[in-house]
């Protein structure tokens, strides 16, 4: 979805991307520097935007449990449009790969329903 939203908006590197990424990863990993990252991000974003950032970070602690707990296969659209990216980032080494049929040949996103830009 990051790739798709970057393509749609034409934004390669969202504002504060580094701080957002570091903050979310610090929550997920229980990092020792979470307090510093939280304070820094809150100062940069202000309270309202920081609350949104905290909420999205929290939401994905649920999404990953639903995905891993139920073993849902990756959607065909994502499989067919992410072959290179998965390989490049090492994502194909994740254990959850076993739940998805990766034999789907590469195709452009436009070939799929539902389209993400509907």
């Amino acid at each position: 979805m990051l790739r798709a939203s970057n393509a749609e908006t034409g934004i390669d590197r969202p504002e504060h991307a580094h701080e957002l990424e570091g903050f979310a990863a610090a929550v997920a990993r229980g990092a020792d520097d979470l307090t510093e990252r939280r304070d820094d991000l809150r100062e940069r974003l202000g309270d309202e935007r920081f609350a949104e950032a905290a909420a999205v970070t929290a939401a994905f602690h649920g999404y990953v449990r639903v995905a891993e707990g139920t073993g849902i296969p990756v959607d065909e659209l994502v499989v067919a449009t992410s072959t290179e990216l998965r390989s490049e980032l090492g994502i194909d080494a994740y254990a959850g790969r076993a739940n998805s049929d990766l034999g789907i040949s590469a195709r452009p996103a436009e070939d799929f329903t539902p389209r993400l830009d509907r």
């Binding site: 990051l2 749609e8 929550v27 997920a28 929290a58 707990g69 296969p73």
Partner: protein, 214 residues
């Protein structure tokens, strides 16, 4: 910190629903699942031998409590074989409901960790009544996941992952939606308080930290 109203409403509703009878679990069992999940989630970054003892007074069997703790704290141990064993213990619908409850609690408690605020408490007492156990109003089938789910389905698989347990699914989806896309999932260029690309940076970082293939 002040939580936006749509989020605080969703959190309150999710926590209140933990005390209600669900698809297969009673209100007392759901609260016990939530208490066990909360304790395990809080301890998830510690080595297993450093973790606190499970909360006392819960009504779950040791086998069910172990399933809850793994989903809350040791997600990397979950694979098809593990899920098969868990489902053999509780049954498919109860397992899906359990995943929904643990995942919902993870959202509530991760928000507390993210903001540095204490997460709101669980309801003090369960609501009376039996689990619903209604027939599903739609077809379900095998899509290659660990559990059956609604089919046919026009959207992303994550949206149907919990459809075998409608009440659990309802609690989870309302909460997750309020915290993530607020009903605008298909707008890839939203520019709300946080832009869509900024939102997806956060989502990607959490997913990567969990090595979530989906």
């Amino acid at each position: 910190m002040q939580m936006p109203e749509r989020m605080s409403d969703a959190v309150s509703a999710a926590l209140a629903a933990m005390a209600d009878p669900g698809d297969r679990w009673s209100g007392a069992e759901r609260l016990a699942i939530a208490a066990t999940a909360r304790a395990a989630f809080a301890d998830r970054h510690r080595a297993p031998w450093m973790r606190e003892a499970p909360p006392e007074g819960v009504v779950l069997t040791p086998e069910v409590a172990a399933i809850v703790r793994t989903l809350a704290a040791d997600l990397h141990l979950v694979d098809r074989d593990w899920a098969k064993e868990a489902i053999a213990v509780v049954g498919e619908v109860a397992y899906v409901e359990l995943v929904a409850l643990v995942s919902s609690l993870a959202i509530v408690d991760a928000f507390g960790e993210a903001t540095g605020d204490e997460a709101p408490g669980l309801p003090a007492a369960p609501m009376p009544g039996d689990p619903v156990d209604d027939e599903l109003p739609y077809d379900v089938g095998d899509i290659g996941a660990y559990v059956p789910m609604r089919t046919p389905w026009p959207d992303a698989n994550v949206g149907r992952a919990l459809t075998l347990a409608p009440s659990g699914n309802g609690v989870y989806r309302a909460l997750a939606m309020a915290m993530y896309h607020d009903g605008e999932f298909y707008d890839l260029a939203w520019n709300r308080t946080l832009s869509r690309p900024q939102t997806e940076v956060l989502a990607t970082a959490v997913s990567a930290a969990h090595e979530c293939f989906y």
